[in-house]
Symmetry: C2
Subunit: 565 residues, 2 copies
Amino acid sequence: MGKCKIVVIGGSAAGAKAAAKARRLDQTAEITIIQKDPDLSMASCGYPYYVGGTFENRNSLLATPTGVVRDPSFFQKTKDINALVETECLLIDREAKKIECRSLKNGEMHTVGYDKLILCTGASPRRLPVPGTDLLGVTALLSMADTDFLHRVSTSGEVKNAVIIGGGLIGVEACEALVNRGVKVTLIEMVDQVLPMLDLQLAKLVENHMEAKGVVVFSGTRLAEFTGENGRIKEVRLAGGESLPCDLAVMATGVQPTVKLAADCGLNIGQLGGIEVDKFMQTSDESIYAAGDCVECVDLISGKKVLAPMGDLANLQGRVAGENAVLGNSVTFPGTTRTAICKVFDFSAGVTGLTEKQAREIGMTDIETVVNASPDKPGFMGAGLLISKLLIEKSSQKILGYQCTGNGDVSRQLATAAMAVTGGLTISDIATADLPYAPPFSLAIDHFIASSHLMQNKLKGRMKSISAEELHQLVYSGNTPFLIDGRGPDEYEVLRLGIGEKYIPLGMLRSKLSELPADKDAEIVCFCKISLRGYETALILEANGWTNVKVLEGGIMAWPYKREK
Amino acid sequence: MGKCKIVVIGGSAAGAKAAAKARRLDQTAEITIIQKDPDLSMASCGYPYYVGGTFENRNSLLATPTGVVRDPSFFQKTKDINALVETECLLIDREAKKIECRSLKNGEMHTVGYDKLILCTGASPRRLPVPGTDLLGVTALLSMADTDFLHRVSTSGEVKNAVIIGGGLIGVEACEALVNRGVKVTLIEMVDQVLPMLDLQLAKLVENHMEAKGVVVFSGTRLAEFTGENGRIKEVRLAGGESLPCDLAVMATGVQPTVKLAADCGLNIGQLGGIEVDKFMQTSDESIYAAGDCVECVDLISGKKVLAPMGDLANLQGRVAGENAVLGNSVTFPGTTRTAICKVFDFSAGVTGLTEKQAREIGMTDIETVVNASPDKPGFMGAGLLISKLLIEKSSQKILGYQCTGNGDVSRQLATAAMAVTGGLTISDIATADLPYAPPFSLAIDHFIASSHLMQNKLKGRMKSISAEELHQLVYSGNTPFLIDGRGPDEYEVLRLGIGEKYIPLGMLRSKLSELPADKDAEIVCFCKISLRGYETALILEANGWTNVKVLEGGIMAWPYKREK
């Protein structure tokens, strides 16, 4: 038997990783990467940070940590991998195990044979079915070419007003990038919130922060068309008729798996449009593996197939595909917990596991949630704020999902929760967990642990609570309950909901019970800045005979609606 | 039955938490805290940061997040808890369920009865059996009084030179605090490393960083005495005869549980000197609970009893004790994974689970370790460095422990690992884990995941490795193997070990095989900055017939010994 021929189509995250892993496991194999773009191993998740000026050296996106650009010569010399760039694959002949390619430089055709093939064809922007997408100044932020374009126009000063279409991860990151370059940005999002990976309440808190940074956000808004002048974008027209003048429009409306090659050669394509693979990352052809944005993978919580076009998963999948292509099926990629995080100006926001919305959509009813707000560390250490939502399976008390946002250390929170979800841990496991504590890093009782305590209090019936959404609905419909803000006068002066609440500092409550409703069954909602004093207020009222007392989850800090102050 | 009388002795972390939790669960109980110190609910882990000037408002250590000092009036008004400060407990009469107390203000004696008693008597400095501990200028950093003293002398300019005795958490934090105040600091530590919670290699990296910040560290050094002039400290004399002139000496030599009251009334005291409690935090008397630094708790990995005087555990235990005192034994504190973290200038350092040293000490042999070094996020985002050591049980591949240091996001690493240890996760679980990734927060393959990959490579025999300690021993004993540094010339110019290595950039290796030992069985050790290229170098050599090729774990970044450059 001669040298094994391994061909990888696609040379970004998954492809480069698969090829490198294959090389480490087989020093004699002939390994070829075929890449349509001129660049390889692009750090595509870094594109918004180059556009926004976090760094100005384009090569940083293409280089090793020591600054060597990962071009075909690098792949040849350090990895003994033949990287054919600017080469398009036209056809996979599975019978003959051959790929027909065409050079984009000179149009020459050639054929590459394989023993094992790894498809890492990635994803492409979801096309918007509106007129004007071909105008100059209408772009995505997915390729290096998009990135170069955005970097150029945002640094040259030629762009004053930009409209971003889509409030997902890339849309939100593009927002920050352009604002950092002094561009006035409007974001439009079809659904009623930015970051659809989050439940509404947390997403609204992120949206509020974006607006505080000068971004105009139109959620629940549909795009009608891009209109231009002399072939150049001039405005974005909304379905409602409104028009937004702009000199740049960024389409960040998601991606779809690039599967034409796979489909054309008869590989199974899943219902969501991605290449079907098993846990070995093997397609319906045992000589062909696939990894990265082009595949469907398993949501480990719901067991359902999902599209999860994430750079980290692409790397992990590529590693598995590369190993199995060389050694036969020996390692597995079980699936995703749909963990995601992004930076949004001074906030971070992310999720691991299911959101409540996702859980409800797939018919789960045995669930409970709680919203928690607290500092991430002691105030004297310069605390940031964390607002989170914990989702559990009620019967087993297992953690199903966790979302977090705020200007505190969201990354640690989500990493902690991702491990808890992966490990199938329950809130009892978390309630006494031994997490790293010192004042520079966390509170003595970490926010995630405190969330589990809140959940325990809720499940044990000690804390009857109401969500911001529920309370807002009551107020909005004219059924405002009796509201108590348990904070002190100084605090009330600078920050308040202003939805009809009475303010009774916790320390004076026991002497002011006469000011409360005479009807002991009246609905009362207690809160404070983060609803710790709100909780203590509620306990005192209950001990004094009031029967229908609730705590506003997360207090003022988790309130996503307009406040008086 | 009348109101339940709950008495808590000690009003710092565990005591204040236990009392507050008891109140939340029973609005009618008579709850009393008896506290010897004048202050309550002190954020004692924050003392070094007040001394060092992270903040200057002393009240921050005693106040709620909204700035209200937690004094007896606060406890009375907001919690309906009677806090007797400056009151010493002399005797517990378990038969009569009474405590004899004396006021430190006026010497008056009085008796307090209880139905349930919670002992949160904390810990006291371990006494040094050397002369001179009573000199002015010799202090600990454990009480508010110590803190006030250190704050005063370090801000007044009267201290120029300080000696810190003990390189544990508090010693190291005290170092940073005093250096931040412009004091010249020398640290002496009896054992051969700072931070004995870490294995030697990582501790040495921390020590190197401290020395880079101007601290003189004497490890493996015993104290002989403090000598003074006019009752004031003048120098610290070492057992070897050397003398260190100073005007301040901080004893940070650890703490011992304060158990006199418990022992005097006949409660069981454990072999380590702490109060014996079960998982309900109940002592050998069913009416008496105990929590915090005064108790022994279970190490969840080894199953052995340990002392774990940590602020976070004190809070978690206090919460359990408070609840069980009110409701009967209903919730548990299963134990600790001995998680700890500290800030050391620009580094952080910490551990969760067992160290290799601890595992060996208790006779574990079915273990494997790997050291990993990598950036915490992409270089273009301003990466910090992480160096970690992963410890697993070899047969089950379960993670037993993880240590991490560096100027990167150590906190997230340790929180992730703490959850993995708590959940009994294996390296396979981690190898494909879905952690929160975006460039501002981590690498596409998170450092912790990469550590599990390294461990897999090691277990599968793909990576034969050598630790820095082993290689250093070989070099030291004159048995230096053939050493290859696989980095480029620019890198070699600015940073190098200089222990006889030949530098062969990875990209040139395949054409330079003739420069390698003719003896294919010669011992060869490969490395680079973090040993990724070192690993690829080793794979190429093995494929070319060399049989005894090893990789230096963690590369140059994890090398704790002197470098040429």
